[in-house]
């Protein structure tokens, strides 16, 4: 499948990849392409480079969808936008993430307040593993549920490896695991098991006084919101596993990409998610040499690029041998994206033999 076929088939496209592969640019270009193909499109982007935001003609992207369609009128395209198309962008506010998260889940504002007053919350508010990812998914779910958009592109948060995004909700889910939280909300004198008492007393010795009572208090507050959390997680996972959603992996043509994408595909399978293909970004193979450089540094630079081209050919061979579907190959940019016009160049390159 090429990206146009994927756009026609899936209503939600999730882009995954490690930092530095150009995920945000590719996601924005894909959204632009989708809009030009006549879909009412929303791109949810996390922490894009300022330049990308300014290139879209905006001071900043907000937590609510911004309509960028009027800006598309200035684009010089071989053919115009198909009827019905529009482009919207949204950047979830991750600064207040956990606060929103707790507020959304609490039926009663006093519960949310109790969580937020707790010292554990106050110290770690920004660092609960998986909160950003979970919030992005929650946002996706509610926007999907409103049914306002034909296509939603979710640009996942930058991660340490491509699996982080898939594992994050589960990690957060463990935190809300009822079987365990229940232990913490029992008063210590009600604990029946002797080993449990001993384990907790060791923990108290290690952590000093005060911490345990904060922990029990925190668990008590979270206990109240766990049921809703689990229900939300379940319906999000169902959505992600449905035929409506396709996953794309974006990577650069380096040797590490081969085992990385294999691992990623295995994990998608385990979760019953659909893998639609990988997008190789920042490729150089298309560049042909017509001279050998005018100065020594120029000749040396050309030699470096030639060796990168060789490596790329080798990586693509290996990917093909492994049977990994490549849905797009995007040339490396000679400079950064400065305007919507530049982004349109990338959108064209997503499916080179099929102009929009």
């Amino acid at each position: 499948m090429n990206l146009d076929q994927i756009l026609d088939q899936r209503k939600i496209i999730v882009t995954c990849g490690t930092g530095g592969v150009g995920k945000t640019t590719v996601s924005a270009a894909l959204a632009l392409r989708s809009a030009l193909r006549g879909y009412k499109t929303l791109v949810i982007t996390i922490d894009p480079a300022k330049r990308l935001v300014t290139s879209l003609g905006l001071k900043e992207l907000g937590d609510k969808p911004t309509d960028l369609t009027p800006l598309l009128a200035n684009l010089k395209l071989s053919s115009g936008m198909k009827p019905g198309g529009s482009l919207h962008a949204l950047m979830p506010d991750t600064r207040t993430t956990f606060e929103n998260f707790v507020n959304n889940l609490s039926s009663d504002p006093t519960v949310a307040e109790r969580v937020m007053r707790n010292p554990i919350y106050q110290i770690f508010a920004k660092e609960f593993s998986g909160t950003n990812e979970f919030m992005a998914l929650e946002r996706l779910w509610s926007l999907w549920n409103q049914g306002e958009y034909d296509r939603i592109i979710l640009d996942t948060p930058p991660s340490r490896n491509t699996l982080t995004f898939l594992e994050a909700p589960k990690l957060l889910g463990r935190f809300f695991d009822e079987n365990f939280i229940r232990w913490l909300v029992l008063p210590t004198n009600k604990l029946v098991s002797e080993t449990m008492k001993r384990a907790l007393s060791i923990l108290e010795k290690l952590t000093g006084t005060g911490f345990m009572s904060s922990l029990f208090d925190f668990a008590n507050a979270l206990f109240e919101i766990r049921a809703r959390f689990s229900a939300n997680l379940k319906r999000i996972m169902e959505l992600l596993g449905s035929e409506n959603v396709g996953f794309l992996m974006i990577t650069t043509p380096t040797p590490e990409a081969v085992p990385e994408v294999s691992l990623f595909i295995d994990n998608l399978k385990k979760n019953h998610f659909q893998f639609d293909g990988m997008t190789l970004n920042r490729t150089l193979s298309h560049l042909h040499a017509d001279a050998s450089g005018k100065s020594a540094p120029e000749t040396d630079a050309i030699a470096v690029i030639r060796s990168l081209q060789n490596r790329e050919t080798y990586v693509i061979e290996r990917l093909k041998k492994e049977g990994i579907p490549i849905c797009a190959t995007l040339p490396e940019l000679a400079r950064d994206i400065h305007s919507l016009e530049d982004l349109a160049h990338v959108a064209m390159a997503l499916v080179p033999d099929s102009p929009i």
């Binding site: 930092g19 530095g20 480079a49 330049r51 010292p119 554990i120 110290i123 770690f124 660092e127 930058p158 991660s159 490896n161 990690l171 463990r174 695991d177 365990f180 232990w183 080993t195 449990m196 001993r198 384990a199 907790l200 923990l203 010795k205 290690l206 952590t207 000093g208 006084t209 005060g210 922990l215 040797p255 085992p259 691992l263 150089l284 560049l287 042909h288 040499a289 017509d290 001279a291 050998s292 100065s295 020594a296 120029e298 040396d300 630079a301 470096v304 690029i305 060796s307 490596r311 080798y314 040339p331 490396e332 940019l333 000679a334 400079r335 950064d336 994206i337 530049d342 160049h345 990338v346």
Partner: protein, 304 residues
């Protein structure tokens, strides 16, 4: 748009790197994809080649067995640090009595807390680095990308506040002191000559400064194309090029050389001194090791 500098300044050859390199514990941080793994391995290899007993640490590399220490060259060990393993090791060392340790670690609630508690994973992993440094002449740490790296550096501070007393509090305070002490720890920020990583490096420096005000980081730019630094910089700014793509290999090479030089103004404007590393790539599967070897040679020259 006419803000391009008229001439290129020669990149400074002396930087804080010369001081940082002699410290027993070195953290290399930076944006994802800048080459931290390659550069940390090359640095570690360069130390090992000088006869120093060296540990190269990475965190949760999904392609390596978790919690495994491997000898990868003469004097050089690699450790893939993983939180569950680090938690077990740390708690057994602090509880002391094996029987109690067993009760503690087998307890379901403790297992739950060790996996689910915010920040505990980061604390355990960075604590492992802190603990292991005693066994080596040099420890070189391949930090995760910026956000996660900061969460790790932040975790000892957080826990020292959360735990008012007890061994965890005590260790967290000491860890934080070690990482902030220029006699014990060196911080290096690695970037590429691209706008986003260069900018993110400046943000990272701000955060590191807030954490460790007395221990400023050294800066390094990786994968620089060979460049004629005596050549006057063109007055054209890259944003004026009509398309973001290049038409040929030569066009691409020329444009990237200009762009790299132009991008580095972000650091030069801040009067930052930095080291540069060449763009080394080979074409085959062993390329990683070939690059590491050649980078190690480059670094070795600067380490002596």
């Amino acid at each position: 748009m006419a803000e391009a500098p008229s001439t290129t300044e020669t990149a400074p050859h002396f930087s804080l790197f010369r001081e940082v390199r002699d410290r027993p514990l070195i953290f290399l941080s930076g944006k994802g994809g800048v080459g931290k793994t390659t550069v940390t391995q090359a640095m570690a290899l360069a130390f090992a080649n000088r006869g120093l007993r060296t540990l190269w640490i990475a965190f949760e590399d999904p392609l390596q067995p978790p919690g495994k220490l491997q000898r990868i060259a003469n004097n050089l060990w690699h450790f893939n640090c993983e939180p569950a393993h680090a938690f077990e090791e740390y708690t057994s060392s602090r509880i002391g009595v094996p029987q109690l340790t067993r009760i503690f670690l087998r307890n379901k609630l403790v297992r739950y807390l060790s996996q689910a508690s915010p920040g505990i994973r980061e604390l355990m992993m960075i604590g492992k680095v802190w603990n292991d440094r005693a066994h080596y002449d040099r420890v070189v740490v391949d930090m995760p990308s910026t956000g996660y790296a900061l969460a790790m550096f932040q975790s000892p501070k957080n826990f020292s506040r959360l735990f008012h007393s007890g061994p965890l509090h005590h260790d967290a305070v000491k860890m934080d002191e070690t990482f902030g002490d220029p006699r014990e720890t060196g911080h290096i920020i690695l970037s590429l000559p691209e706008e986003m990583p260069l900018q993110e490096s400046l943000d990272l420096e701000g955060h590191l400064h807030a954490l460790y005000p007395n221990n400023p980081p050294a800066f390094m730019v990786n994968r620089m194309l060979p460049e004629d630094l005596t050549k006057p910089m063109t007055s054209i700014t890259p944003s004026e090029w009509p398309t973001p793509y290049a038409s040929s290999l030569e066009d691409f090479a020329r444009k990237r050389q200009t762009l790299e030089n132009y991008n580095l103004r972000l650091w030069r404007d801040q009067k930052l001194e930095f080291e540069t590393l060449p763009h080394l790539e080979a074409s085959r599967e062993n390329s990683f090791f070939a690059i590491v070897g050649r980078l190690a040679e480059t670094l070795q020259a600067r380490l002596i």
